[in-house]
């Protein structure tokens, strides 16, 4: 049914006026960082990240390692959360959630989409964060799946200050080999303004994204 690969590539080659595959790899346009870079490693990255993440509509709460478990429980209680799926590998937090009477499903026990659909909140860490835009970077690994930050109405994400990169150019300075099946830049709660331009949060993904920014410095 489909035109085969050789034929397809041939037609592209012909369109470009070539009869043979190019023998040497073309040199791609250099990315001039003096133009394209929007944040520098020497900037105050946690401050920049917090400011820009807030501008994207995410709620940023500053905390420390010691106070993290309490900050998490406070946040969930304030939000009226009854059940969570947690991919946070942290026994102290699991204990705190249990004490607060929040039904916490350990991701390692139930990794189904069904569990993600049912939970009031998804708790995850992040693979990195970007000061440039205020984005979270998540990746699919056995330790976290792509439905968890997406399906529950609330996503609570723990970000360590040391994980914050300056610019997208730093995230992709080297090709990742092999790349994860999914890398997601999450930059705010799910939103739309399709109906008469009225902004509404929580279309398909979470209505709220809360960032617990752990900065002991």
């Amino acid at each position: 049914m489909s035109s085969n690969k050789a034929q397809f590539l041939d037609s592209i080659r012909q369109a470009l006026g070539r009869t043979q595959p190019t023998s040497t790899a073309p040199v791609p346009t250099p990315v001039d960082e003096s133009i394209a870079r929007l944040a520098r490693p020497e900037d105050d990255l946690p401050a920049l990240f917090a400011e820009r993440a807030a501008k994207l509509g995410m709620e940023v709460k500053h905390t420390t390692h010691d106070r993290l478990a309490k900050a998490l429980v406070d946040e969930l209680e304030q939000s009226g959360v009854r059940s969570v799926v947690s991919a946070l590998d942290n026994p102290a937090m699991a204990g705190a959630l249990c004490n607060a009477g929040i039904e916490a499903l350990d991701w390692r026990v139930d990794r189904s989409m069904a569990a993600c659909y049912a939970a009031d909140a998804g708790l995850t860490g992040a693979a990195a964060a970007l000061a440039e835009t205020g984005s979270l970077v998540l990746q699919s690994t056995p330790a976290v799946g792509r439905g968890l930050p997406l399906a529950p109405p609330l996503h609570v994400v723990v970000v360590e200050a040391g994980q914050i990169l300056a610019d997208m150019l730093d995230l992709w300075s080297q090709p990742v080999q092999p790349p994860p099946a999914w890398q997601g830049l999450i930059s705010g709660p799910s939103k739309t303004s399709d109906i008469e331009g009225v902004l509404i949060q929580g279309v398909h993904g979470p209505e709220r994204v809360v960032i617990l920014l752990v900065d002991d410095a």
């Binding site: 049914m1 489909s2 035109s3 085969n4 397809f8 037609s11 592209i12 369109a15 470009l16 006026g17 595959p21 190019t22 790899a25 073309p26 791609p28 346009t29 990315v31 001039d32 133009i35 394209a36 929007l38 820009r52 994207l56 990794r111 189904s112 989409m113 984005s135 699919s140 690994t141 056995p142 799946g145 792509r146 439905g147 997406l150 399906a151 995230l171 992709w172 090709p175 080999q177 790349p179 099946a181 999914w182 890398q183 997601g184 830049l185 999450i186 930059s187 709660p189 799910s190 939103k191 739309t192 303004s193 399709d194 109906i195 008469e196 331009g197 929580g202 279309v203 398909h204 993904g205």
Partner: protein, 508 residues
């Protein structure tokens, strides 16, 4: 071009929407444009949707890039142009790397082939229900109609596209597809098609769609998407949305099929970064879309979520013919941000449906004739005042006015000019033969137009051949006196002219 031949005949025209995007050819845009211009509700809806983004884009880009903004657009344009100039190499690299991640790559010369590939996969994998995220290429090929024709229930997941689908309408903007619709129409469609009781509150309408689509995600075994970019160096496919519907559509179902135009490639992820920095700023005045999903292959061993199979259908559908034409090749740089639509005074007056095709606005006026049928869409390249606002807005530096002029030139060269046009040009040439003839013709023209003008200072209707103009636009009446007359009276005394000349001489 192939698509023009295959789409309307092979697919049943079940929805009115298809007649909007696939009208019989040759297409005369005047009828719809006239109706749109008179529809004040439509005009104010389009105006408010586009102007906010137009102003927002300028502010966002100035804030992010400052004086480097022109250089940034040039950089992005150069990256895309380089990739197109070596598309054979980058495509081959992409295919090899994507296959190494476990994705299956397919090749479709035209829309019918692309649809057939998708149907074959759906049949083989026994898929019954499909959820689809917004994709312009699938609009081009008419995939939804093809899937439904094969008995596979298909639901659009982008809120705007979802509403358009249930209301049997068609998108009118490449980024914000339902700017022509009101909340009242949405509520009416919900009541009629979904059988729900609802108010016209956008929040309520959105939450109903959320709930409805959750059930669809759970049920669907086929997820269809397009792609905003492909990365050659690692075979990645990139999706940008604000709603998260694409993420869902390619996460929940067990089979993912992506339709991608071959022009979507960039060499590396660093080049991708340059594009992402411009896309959302140009499109909706955001620094980045809420969800940027970078997908490399189906789910890995040990992954909990994600499709078991990932199929990437590379779609040509007229693109290699554009590629083969160096003068028009830059049109393939387009990253479908919609900025040129928002900037275009013509688009803002006539709306997307007037273009009679999937792609509207300035970029649509260029690529619709090229992808489908130049003779069938000969109005489109003329639907521009060549003011250049689109060029200024374009993040990949496509000189749209020059491309439009090139297309006009070709249309004139190919087609025979009308008799009336030949007569007009002959008369025009005759009037330029001597100064007195020129002055006389100008005087006559001015007199006549001032006589036919209404009190508001505009000519609304005049005799043929001028009527071809006034049928669709108003013509401002000329000034009382010509520039020549004014000059002679105000500044042009002999003495002054003499002085001027001697001054110039002295300067030499």
């Amino acid at each position: 071009m192939a698509e023009a031949d295959t789409h309307p005949s092979s697919a049943p025209l079940t929805h009115e929407g298809h007649a909007i995007l696939f009208p019989p050819l040759p297409y005369d845009m005047h009828e719809r444009a006239d109706a749109a211009v008179k529809d004040t509700a439509l005009l104010s809806a389009i105006e408010s949707a586009t102007m906010g983004k137009y102003e927002g884009r300028k502010q966002m880009c100035a804030r992010a890039f400052g004086d480097d903004y022109p250089a940034m657009r040039k950089l992005a344009g150069d990256i895309k142009q380089h990739t197109l100039d070596h598309l054979d190499f980058y495509l081959e690299q992409f295919i090899e790397r994507a296959e190494a991640t476990g994705a299956q790559v397919h090749f479709a010369a035209d829309g019918a082939q692309a649809n057939a590939i998708c149907l074959e996969i759906a049949k083989r994998e026994n898929c019954r229900s499909c959820v689809k995220s917004k994709s312009m290429v699938t609009e081009e090929t008419g995939l939804v109609t093809a899937l439904e024709g094969a008995g596979i229930e298909t639901v659009e997941s982008d809120l705007g596209e979802f509403i358009i689908q249930i209301d049997h309408d068609a998108p009118s903007h490449i980024v914000t597809p339902m700017i022509h619709k009101t909340r009242r129409e949405v509520a009416a469609a919900y009541r009629r098609e979904l059988g729900v009781d609802c108010t016209e509150d956008p929040e309520e309408l959105t939450k109903i769609a959320r709930k409805h689509l959750r059930d669809i995600y759970r049920k669907a075994d086929l997820g269809v998407s397009g792609a905003n970019f492909l990365v050659a160096e690692d075979g990645a496919l990139v999706l940008c949305t604000n709603e998260g519907n694409a993420t869902f559509s390619v996460t929940a179902p067990r089979v993912h099929v992506a339709f991608v135009g071959i022009e979507k490639l960039v060499p590396t992820r660093r080049h991708l970064a340059v594009m992402l920095k411009l896309l959302a700023r140009s499109s909706t005045a955001q620094p980045i879309t809420v969800y940027t999903d970078i997908l490399t292959g189906p789910k890995r061993v040990g992954d909990a979520h994600g499709p078991e199979q990932m199929h990437i259908v590379l779609v040509d559908n007229g693109r290699s013919a554009i590629l083969a034409d160096p003068a028009l090749r830059p049109s393939l740089r387009c990253i479908r941000c919609g900025a040129c639509l928002n900037a275009c005074p013509v688009y803002r007056k006539v709306g997307g449906h007037s273009y009679g095709a999937v792609y509207s606005g300035p970029i649509g006026a260029v690529i619709t004739p090229l992808l489908r049928d130049p003779a069938g869409y000969k109005d489109l390249p003329n639907a521009s005042s060549l003011c250049g606002a689109c060029y200024q807005a374009c993040p990949v530096h496509i000189d749209l006015p020059t491309l439009l002029i090139e297309l006009r030139k070709r249309l004139v060269e190919q087609g025979k000019p009308k008799r009336i046009e030949r007569l007009m040009y002959r008369a025009y040439a005759a009037s330029l033969k001597s100064p007195w003839r020129y002055k006389l013709s100008q005087w006559l023209g001015r007199k006549w137009l001032r006589m036919t003008a209404d009190r508001d200072g505009f000519v609304h209707r005049t005799l043929p051949p001028g009527r071809a103009w006034t049928d669709h636009r108003d013509l401002p009446a000329p000034a009382k006196q010509s520039f020549h007359q004014w000059w002679r009276k105000e500044k042009g005394t002999k003495a002054q002219r003499h002085e001027g000349k001697s001054e110039i001489r002295n300067q030499k």
